[in-house]
């Protein structure tokens, strides 16, 4: 079995009001020196088989079709 991690983040230039709110909240908790905060999503996905190249292609297709909205989001795939 292959264990993969897909990370979805907002593209540069796309406003992230939730990240902004988190940034302010961290400042409010006394964490100094916090720069920009961007919120994203992480998916841990288990796949049958052992062929990582095939799995990577499949995971990218999953991102394009569902996990990410490529209008506003980038994604990356890694194996754990």
């Amino acid at each position: 079995m292959i264990k993969a991690r897909v990370t979805v983040t907002l593209k540069n230039g796309v406003l992230d009001p939730q990240g902004k709110a988190i940034e302010h909240a961290l400042g409010g908790l006394g964490f100094d020196g916090v720069g920009q905060v961007r919120q994203g999503k992480v998916f841990d996905i288990e796949l049958d088989g052992t062929d990582k190249a095939k799995a990577e292609n499949e995971l990218k297709a999953m991102c394009d079709k569902l996990l990410a909205n490529t209008v506003i989001e980038n994604y990356s795939v890694s194996f754990v």
Partner: protein
């Protein structure tokens, strides 16, 4: 005139849409469920508002991949009129039937209030009952109505007159780019908008500013 309303788990404005279409068209709409793969022959398909699939992943993302939406896309390709309101708009952009994306409101707050809309393009089947640049009232109720599109897409839809409704008189409730409240596809038969015209169609609603949208789509003279 025949209409159909798409039903999905988690929608909650479906009965409002059914009531509005029944009153305006004179006939109760057909209803199609998320697993249906065929939609009867109708003049207008409406996707109502709500929180389909609990807004999991992204608003409208799961619904956009449901079997019934493939059927909606086939009908849209054949020229059938389609309107998506609120979550219905989110579903249409997630399904790729309209460009752009709808993001969390800039205020991060759910907004439930009345806004003013400018009819930015009165030359569509949906808006032919309005005057160009007419300002109408319309209620909104959403958490993710902040329209976004990349610069090229934005320039294209603006240049093609595909921004059909804009928030007017400083009532933009969500930070939407260019005050965009509703857009139409390039063929002019698929409209998505965040406000709820189905909730302002008769005196009992306190006004009927939304009625002309459905009358226009159905070709009913006001």
């Amino acid at each position: 005139m025949k209409t159909a309303v798409v039903l999905l788990p988690g929608l909650n404005r479906d009965r409002d849409m059914i009531a509005a279409l029944t009153k305006i068209s004179g006939t109760a709409p057909a209803t199609v469920w998320q697993t249906d793969t065929e939609i009867p022959d109708v003049d207008l398909i409406a996707i109502p508002g709500g929180f389909s699939f609990g807004d999991y992943l992204r608003c409208g993302a799961i619904a956009a991949r449901s079997p019934v939406m493939r059927a909606v896309a086939e009908k849209a390709a054949k020229g059938v009129m389609v309107v998506g309101v609120c979550n219905g708009f989110q579903i249409l952009v997630e399904a790729g039937l309209l460009p752009g994306a709808l993001m969390r409101n800039a205020s991060l707050k759910f907004v439930c209030r009345e806004v003013k809309l400018q009819v930015a393009n009165a030359n569509t089947a949906f808006t032919r009952g309005y005057q160009p640049n007419q300002i109408i009232r319309c209620p909104v109720a959403h958490h993710d109505g902040n329209y976004f599109a990349d610069a090229d897409t934005l320039a294209r839809i603006e240049g093609e007159g595909r921004v059909v409704f804009r928030y007017a008189e400083d009532t933009n409730p969500n930070g939407s780019i260019n005050d965009i409240a509703g857009i139409i596809n390039d063929k002019g038969n698929v409209l998505g908008l965040m406000p709820h015209p189905e909730n302002l169609i008769e005196a009992a609603h306190g006004g009927n500013d939304g009625r002309a949208l459905f009358e226009g789509a159905l070709g009913i003279a006001a």
